[in-house]
Amino acid sequence: MALLEVRDLRLSFGGLKVLQDISFSVEKGAINSLIGPNGAGKTSLFNCLTGFYKPKGGSIRLAGRPITGLPPHRITALGLARTFQNIRLFKEMSVLENAMSGQHCRSRHGLVSAILHLPSQRREEEAIRAAGMRWLDFVGIAEHAHRLAGGLSYGDQRRLELARALASTPELILLDEPAAGLNEREKSDLVRLIRRIRDETGVTVLLIEHDMGLVMQVSERIVVFDYGQKIADGTPVAVRADPRVIEAYLGTEE
């Protein structure tokens, strides 16, 4: 059984059909990509998967459980984490506090136990903090733990977003253009990091990316979108050779 299964997903704003009968799946332990020209509906699809948009029809299953129409926090709790296209960190808070935020849905103590300073609450706080540090270390920015997130370099902010998403211990992580704005060296670091995420933690990765070099290098399978429709789905080699993909990207040669 696939980890993520999308069936006939439809979404529209007013009269505009943003997604039309999208179906695809992501196998557990895979690194897959979504590509397509601007406005093809990739981010809208992510927003449907993570509960920010309510789809008009179709179904989404995560590890066999239906998650269609659930609110974002429930979906995250069920094991689906994401990053944002334009970095959305809590810039006024410390790097560590940002990383710790991912642990929120994996912890349970509330206000009363915090006020009473229950031993179990203190232990949990310590665990949250340790997890935050562990993921900062994983993405390689542990030395900045106590700086403000807004003060990090752009590349480190991207890493922090990854650490934050990973801290929620997801089964599947959705990366929305993780390489946008990175230089060549940072991009190759990112490729290594994405592979480490899958190899060392077993988290499945689905990414949206415009950088074709990176996509071809890292992905095992690629889904191609155009005008809200899926036009191709296959290995990098197959997708690269698909005439419809070439047409979508380069226009028809007539």
Partner: protein, 303 residues
């Protein structure tokens, strides 16, 4: 309820509703363009009434306390207070445009308190008479007395609102306003002078509120520093009921709220002391069940 009562409350509802509609329109326009709840709007209405009273007492020396005086006061006050709205936008709101929402809201609250506090300090909290010679003459429909002033008042506010609607839907500036309200960034890219459009919106919204203030002052015959508070709240409620950001919605909401109040307080078992609970209750119910109001469109917030 007897038929007379029904007609009388209809008249009452229409009059107070047309004030609500005028003020709600400004709320809606400003909200549409910069997505800001302009708390100071009620105080702009109050300022309009005071400016109108000052102008009225000056021109009254030459043209008397009749219609001509009121019209002069109305026009001058609309112009002056429209400019006041632009000044407030320039110095209080524009610096905050990229600040967090909470800060903008508190700034707007501060602007409202400054206007209100200044009016209190200048007037010492006194109530001023706005005495016109308009009188109570009018026509009688069975037992219901409708004065000419009341008729002119409703007609004038409908005219002002219709003019506004024509401006927004027909002119270049109106189109620019709508463009900015849909997507400020894209409008800027398309060569629209966004700052200017926002200033214009504040000017028009404030001028409408000032017009409402002068008309209310002249009609009720009294002006005081606190008159904007309740009016601001009710007008906001009207804007929400009609659909905030929508010009026809503001008109509809204002009239509906006026009628709701008028008929609501003649219901048995609901004394007039509960009327405001009624109004705020309607506001809360609308926000819960239909936050887009009757004529508003739903907005999908992009992530």
């Amino acid at each position: 309820m007897t038929l007379d009562l029904v007609i009388q409350q209809l008249v009452n509802g229409l009059i107070v509703g047309s004030f609500y509609a005028l003020i709600a329109l400004g709320y809606s326009m400003v909200f549409g363009v910069i997505k800001l709840l302009n708390f100071a709007h009620g105080d702009i209405y109050m300022s309009g009434a005071f400016v109108g009273l000052i102008v009225f007492s000056f021109v009254g020396i030459w043209v008397g306390n009749g219609w001509l005086g009121v019209v002069c006061a109305l026009l001058v006050s609309m112009l002056a207070v429209g400019l006041l709205g632009v000044v407030i936008e320039r110095f209080a709101y524009r610096p905050m445009r990229s600040a967090p929402r909470l800060s903008i809201l508190i700034t707007a609250l501060g602007a409202s308190m400054v206007l209100n506090g200044a009016a209190l300090a200048l007037t010492g909290g006194r109530h001023f008479a706005f005495n016109t010679d308009l009188g109570f003459a009018g026509v009688d429909i069975s037992a219901v007395h409708i004065t000419y002033t009341q008729m002119v008042l409703v007609a004038a506010s409908i005219l002002l609102m219709a003019g506004m609607q024509a401006f927004v839907s027909r002119t270049m500036y109106g189109k620019a306003m709508r463009a900015v309200s849909i997507d400020m960034g894209a409008s800027r890219l398309m060569g629209i002078d966004v700052d200017r459009v926002i200033a214009l919106t504040f000017f028009m919204g404030s001028a409408l509120a000032a017009g409402g203030g002068v008309m209310a002052g002249a009609y009720y015959g009294s002006v005081h520093f606190f008159m904007g508070f309740i009016m601001g709240l009710k007008a906001f409620t009207a804007a929400v009921i009609g659909g905030i950001g929508s010009v026809p919605g503001a008109m509809l909401g204002g009239l509906l709220l006026g009628l709701l109040e008028a008929y609501g307080s003649s219901l048995p078992f609901v004394g007039s002391e509960w009327r405001d609970v009624f109004v705020f209750g309607a506001l809360i119910l609308f926000l819960v069940f239909k936050p887009t109001g009757i004529l508003g469109r739903s907005i999908v917030e992009r992530v």
